[in-house]
Every structure is written in structure tokens, then in C-alpha cells.
Symmetry: C2
């Protein structure tokens, strides 16, 4: 991971570019211009070129990017060129929705994101499977995280227990979190938390209504 | 609304500042420095000052911001100094979670965000109330949007029907959307869509694990 200094806003745009590239038919579009890729991703060509320049040189001036090559490179940069195991803590309504609607698309080659485990405190749920995802007791977090090599945790638990679960996951070596509970988690420097806060989203939307 | 040219990233940070200010005890902290407010919001003092400068002059050089005044001003800028009615389309697992966990905190003075209606196609749900939020038939969208003066819509429906519901809401005058379905909605210029895409979030997190 050479790119420690890459701004987070840049890292957050890479999956957008990857998605556009993945939706392209490589036979039809073997080469794509920064103008076209930028437009489909919702950024200017300059922004796209600047973002990619953090990671090296990928296109030829006046020619464009090799679709297949840039796709592979983005997967490599995002470390999605291997299986990335994800765990979900909290199988309430939100957790259920995440399992059903947002279960990461699994790659036939076994690479990319894979939701491999969910955790809950409800004995009625523990031991069951939902959409093929096994549900474990929250007590087993450290053990299952290590056994299944889980590197990203989704927190979908009530706000009052989030901090505690968060700490236990960090102690088990997890460094990347997606948090759905309201409120800010104070993370050590090596830990990354992306938060989805619906109230903040709605408040910024109020400006545009 | 004078601030048409304000970048969206700036608008998205305003609710963060507002939240920090709302959590302050005004008696204890009647004045806050840009350093302190920036730190608590997770931005540099320079960024904070630059963001606020889009909307006027709020602090005194070397003194800081009047907590109460800046709070009121941010509410006014975000148009949260009045009741803002929000509707939710889709009362599946995700919709339920949104009603339960993210029901906007209601202000005793009746200002700010208020989830006033939910919509679904399930006859078992229509006519009921969940956490005091009435559930209407999706058929009644245009009618209820107008009657209740709904200005923000949360889309929590399956991807394949999102586009259709989205169009019907726009036709009823809604200009601000929070979309939870995967995929990009193509919006006319006057319509704002903020999207929460779990897969994209997880993909950017893979970089940090």
C-alpha cells in the first residue's frame, strides 16, 4: 500500500470509476477517454486524471485508457483483486435490509467483497442463516473475525452499544468500518470509519428542496 | 436562496457544524473559536472559515463565533428553521429501520425535519402506523405529497421500481431525494439526489483494511 497520502475523497471516487468500467462491454469499448469515463462517473476529465495520477500513469495522452487494464489496476489499488471478507454486526431491520438488498455481488472467481458472517445477541437468530449468511453470537466476534479473516465490519447496532462492539472489533484486528449508528466513533489513527448518517444527509438535502 | 453556487461538499459539511453547535451548552460555551469548532467537526479551522465565508461573515477575527447566533444562522441557511416534511417510500426492512432508528429527532418547537408519511404497496401495511408514522398506498403519492407539503423523499424501494417512483415524486414537485437503491438516478437540473450506496462504501473501505 504505497498510497498512504491519497486523500480520502479520491479513494472514495475510485469505486465509482471501477463501476463504470465494469459496466462497459470491453469488446465494444476497449479504450475509453478521460472525458467519457469522467462524464459517466459524474466528475470532470481533469478531476479523473488528477485522481488516477496518485497511483501512476494509466492512459496515453490523446488516446485514453485501456478499459480492461484500468479495471484491473483499480481492483488492485482498492485491494479488491482478492476475496475481502465482510462481517455485519446487528441483524435487526437494518441488518436484514443490508443482507437482502446490499449483499455484495459475489464474483464467480471468488474475488471482491463477500459478506461471510453476521452477528446478533438474539438467541432466536443465532445459528440460523439468512440469504446463506450464517448468524453468530456477538460473543464470538473475536473468534469468528480471526477464523474467517474478516477485514471490514458493518455496524448496524443501536447507538448505545456501537462503541463497545467497535472496540472489540479493533482489538480483533479490524481496521475498516462502515457505521450506520448515529454519532461519531473516535477511532485510533490506523482505523478507518465511514459513517452513513441519515439525519446529516437529510439536513443537507433541506438546503436543496 | 442566494447560495446557488455553493459547492455540494460545503453544503454537506454544514449539518456537521450545526450538530457540534447543537451539542454545546451555550451557557458554558457562548463563544467558540474556528479552531475548536473545526476540530470537533473534523475539519481544519481554515476549511471551516472558508465554508462559512460562502454565506457571509459570522465570527470576529481573534474572537470566534457566537454559538447561539451561528447555530441559528446555520439553521436558516439549511432552511431548517421551519418544519421540513419528509416522506419515505418503501416500508420493507430498510424502511422499517429508517422509521425506527433514524426517525428525525423532532423539535418541540415544531421546526426541522419531520417524517410525516410512509408509502408502500402492501395492503397489510397501508392504513397502519409505525412509530406514529402513517403508511399510505404508493398510489396516493402525488396527493399526500401535496397535502402534507412533503419536500424531501427517501427512496427505500427495490432498484427496479426506483426510477418510476422517483419520476412520480418529481412530477409532484419534490426536488430533494435520498436514495438507498443501488444505481444512479438521472435527475433534471433542479432536482438533487443524495445516494447511499453500501457497495461503493465497502469498496472504498477495502483500500484501508
Amino acid at each position: 500500500m504505497g498510497g498512504r497520502k491519497v486523500p480520502d475523497v479520491v479513494v472514495r471516487r475510485l469505486p465509482l470509476y471501477l463501476r463504470v468500467l465494469e459496466e462497459l462491454d470491453v469488446e465494444e469499448t476497449p479504450i475509453i477517454s478521460s472525458h467519457e469515463l469522467g462524464e459517466q462517473s459524474g466528475v470532470t476529465p481533469g478531476q479523473l486524471r488528477k485522481d488516477l495520477s496518485f497511483f501512476g500513469v494509466f492512459g496515453k495522452q490523446g488516446v485514453g485508457y485501456n478499459t480492461l487494464y484500468l479495471r484491473e489496476e483499480l481492483r488492485r489499488i482498492l485491494r479488491l483483486n482478492q476475496q475481502v471478507n465482510v462481517g455485519l454486526v446487528g441483524v435487526g431491520n437494518l441488518g436484514m435490509a443490508l443482507i437482502h438488498y446490499h449483499k455484495p455481488k459475489e464474483d464467480p472467481n471468488g474475488i471482491g467483497l463477500r459478506l461471510v458472517a453476521a452477528f446478533d445477541i438474539d438467541p432466536q437468530k443465532i445459528g440460523k442463516r439468512i440469504s446463506d449468511v450464517p448468524i453468530y453470537s456477538v460473543e464470538k466476534l473475536p473468534e469468528v473475525i480471526r477464523q474467517l479473516n474478516i477485514s471490514i465490519i458493518i455496524l448496524a447496532v443501536p447507538a448505545e452499544v456501537t462503541e463497545d462492539i467497535f472496540r472489540r472489533c479493533i482489538e480483533s484486528g479490524v481496521r475498516a468500518f462502515l457505521n450506520f449508528a448515529p454519532g461519531k466513533l473516535s477511532a485510533p489513527g490506523h482505523v478507518r470509519v465511514h459513517a452513513t448518517d441519515v439525519t446529516l444527509e437529510l439536513e443537507s438535502l433541506a438546503y436543496y428542496r
